[in-house]
């Protein structure tokens, strides 16, 4: 079995491009070009130079000494929080903005949940001097205010999504509508491994740099390219796709995907797609999603805006269904506690999304000589208000 995409754009039975005809030319243009463009030496050169000099890659692989002692195992944190703009999201937006330029697009749209992807998109648009419109759910605009301010400073227009649960799913709908309305000059920078083929694969490839680095960094530190476990939180799944990528086919490396259980998986306020979801179509992709028996998409809930999404990318649907990755759901409370714990133990304030992944250590026991790499997908500056309120600091 392969865990990568096939040439029809599917991971196992998941994926594809379930898009209205209005989007066909755009998506098809991208599908025909993305691999070719990415393979161009000049593209690679420009991409890698920006990752190095602008984003600050490689991001460190940091051995968390005190955390490791506490949980009696070897914990490495892959420090995507140190990237420019503060999360893994920028790896993808750098790649996509270069793609958009090669496709002669002059106008960029994006959806955002936590605002990290919005900021990362606004950032690369400023860098390239392109117009930028970011759709963001009204609820997320309120709970991720610092990122809204950042997008505005970067010159992006932030448009509130007012329908549905007014979170990431609805922002994505609005972005797709914009794209339908602007089919010629506009590139849609999707922020995760979701959406119609070739987006999941393209985004995963741009994020794959993360696991590529983990391999040589671990080699330097532990003499092996293989961790025992790789742990990542999953909203749409781009972060997990990035840290899993180069380990997908090597089943000696165990993959753990952490989802948001919200107030509890069966509380009715959750975003644990792997448990609550069924096969279906969301945002142009066949995948697992939370839905009513009738096929209406359910409004998810998580304290973390970036995980508050009723689907997962098709890669993850496949990893889940095939058993390749273990899926674990972490509640709001457990995530928050793990986040604060990292602050106090290691001096790193994680994004609440990331805190879900960190909670793994209270939920699963590892062996003393296990090498566990956790993706520190983002920093928590955007979440200070939520943390402060939660803990009455």
């Amino acid at each position: 079995m392969t865990y990568n995409i096939n040439d029809k754009g599917y991971y196992g039975e998941f994926g594809g491009a379930y898009i209205p005809e209005m989007l066909y030319p755009n998506v098809e243009e991208l599908r025909q070009n993305y691999l070719k463009v990415m393979a161009e030496p000049e593209f690679q050169e420009e991409f890698n130079a920006l990752l190095k000099d602008y984003v600050g890659r490689p991001s460190p692989l940091y051995f968390a000494k005190r955390l490791s002692e506490k949980y009696n195992t070897k914990i490495y944190l892959k420090r995507e929080d140190l990237n420019h703009t503060g999360a893994h999201k920028i790896n993808n937006t750098i790649g996509q903005i270069l793609m958009a330029k090669r496709l002669n697009k002059s106008r960029i749209i994006a959806e955002t949940g936590a605002g990290q992807h919005g900021v990362a998109t606004a950032t690369v648009c400023a860098l390239m001097g392109l117009e930028c419109i970011v759709y963001m759910g009204e609820v997320d605009i309120a709970r991720q205010a610092p990122n809204v301010a950042r997008m505005k400073m970067l010159g992006a227009k932030v448009v509130p999504a007012l329908s549905g649960s007014r979170t990431l799913k609805d922002a994505t709908n609005e972005a797709i509508r914009d794209w339908i309305n602007n089919p010629v000059d506009t590139h849609y920078i999707i922020g995760s491994v979701v959406g119609p083929h070739p987006y999941p694969d393209m985004v995963a490839r741009f994020q794959a740099i993360v696991s590529e680095e983990i391999q040589w960094q671990l080699k330097e530190k532990e003499g092996t390219t293989k961790p025992d476990y790789v742990v990542a939180c999953v909203g749409g799944g781009s972060n997990a796709a990035g840290v899993f990528y180069h380990f997908l086919e090597d089943t000696e490396v165990k993959l753990i995907a952490v989802e948001a259980a919200g107030k509890g998986v069966h509380s009715g306020e959750s975003a644990a797609t792997s448990i609550l979801g069924k096969e279906g179509i969301i945002h142009g992709s066949k995948t697992l999603l939370m839905q009513t028996p009738d096929g209406q998409i359910t409004e998810p809930y998580s304290i973390s805006a970036g995980l508050d999404y009723p689907g997962v990318g098709p890669m993850h649907a496949h990893l889940c269904k095939s058993g390749r990755a273990e899926f674990i759901a972490i509640t709001d409370d457990d995530a928050m506690t793990a986040g604060l714990d990292l602050c106090k133990m290691e001096g790193i304030i994680p994004a609440i999304e990331t805190s879900h992944a960190l909670a793994i250590f209270e939920h699963k026991k590892f062996q003393p000589d296990d090498i566990v790499v956790v993706s520190l997908s983002g920093r928590g500056d955007k979440d200070l208000d939520t943390y402060v309120k939660h803990f009455n600091l």
């Binding site: 594809g16 209005m22 066909y24 339908i180 089919p183 839905q291 009738d294 096929g295």
Partner: protein, 255 residues
């Protein structure tokens, strides 16, 4: 012969109306269908509401949300349509997103359509290729016509491919947009309408998106076989309720 094909043979420009099932009230569906036919409408697209209608603008979105709140589901819709063919004879098409159909089961869905007398389906997010490879056989087994969309961005080559798969009409999206976006047609549309006319396709075309009144209906049907009005009719329902359909339709047909 499918009612759609029969209707397409009539020597007139066809007026087709879209509305969202279960809107404004859950039980308005059949009444609206009957009234539309009585007022001279040629064909009806019954919207199966979806939580995330990403090809639709605010008007149809809002009507879908309300319909879902009212309790509309796939089962309820089929229940409501159970006896529709006792009173209605014009072609009926269900327009909806693919996920609810997938959950119902595509075959079960087609079967049920055939049972209650639905003639065709418009599924914006079911791509032509997926239909062709996976679902064509089922649709044809139940005599359900699948209606494909084309847009000003669709290449001639692709249009011919779509034409070759079409068994009824081609849904010609007037401009690159979600529903309810533009008002009136400009030179770009005229060029597009003429380009398509010149392709001399096998399937007749019915224009949708941006048609709201007699003028745009006339423009749209200069070259095409008919036109579909959606958002404008939903707005009418929102303002006037389901009782005064005549006041919307009659100025369209007899200005």
């Amino acid at each position: 012969m499918n009612r759609i094909n029969k209707k397409l043979q009539e020597n007139k420009k066809l007026l087709s109306i879209y509305f969202t099932a279960g809107y404004p009230n859950l039980k308005d569906t059949v009444g609206i269908i009957e009234d539309l036919e009585k007022n001279g409408v040629d064909m009806i697209e019954i919207g199966l509401p979806f939580s995330d209608p990403l090809a639709d603008g605010p008007t149809i979105q809002a009507s879908s949300t309300q319909a879902l709140k009212n309790g509309m589901t796939t089962d309820v819709l089929f229940d409501q349509l159970q006896a529709v063919r006792k009173t209605v004879s014009i072609p009926l098409v269900i327009m909806g997103y693919f996920n609810p159909m997938l959950q119902y089961g595509v075959e079960a869905f087609c079967k049920k359509c055939a049972e209650v007398g639905i003639d065709g389906l418009i599924i914006p997010d079911l791509p032509v290729d997926v239909y062709n490879e996976q679902y064509k056989a089922v649709f044809e087994a139940y005599g359900i016509i699948n209606v494909f969309l084309i847009t000003p961005q669709t290449s001639d080559e692709r249009i011919r491919f779509i034409d070759s798969l079409s068994k009824g009409f081609i849904y010609m999206v007037s401009s690159a947009s979600v529903t309810g976006s533009s008002s009136g047609f400009g030179d770009a549309q005229t060029d597009y309408f003429e380009r398509i006319a010149n392709l001399e396709l096998e399937s007749p075309q019915i224009v949708g998106f941006g048609i709201s009144d007699h003028k745009t209906f006339t423009q749209a049907t200069t070259h095409a076989k008919g036109a579909i009005i959606g958002s404008a009719f939903i707005k009418h329902l929102t303002s006037n309720g389901p009782e005064n359909i005549n006041s919307f339709i009659s100025p369209l047909l007899r200005p």
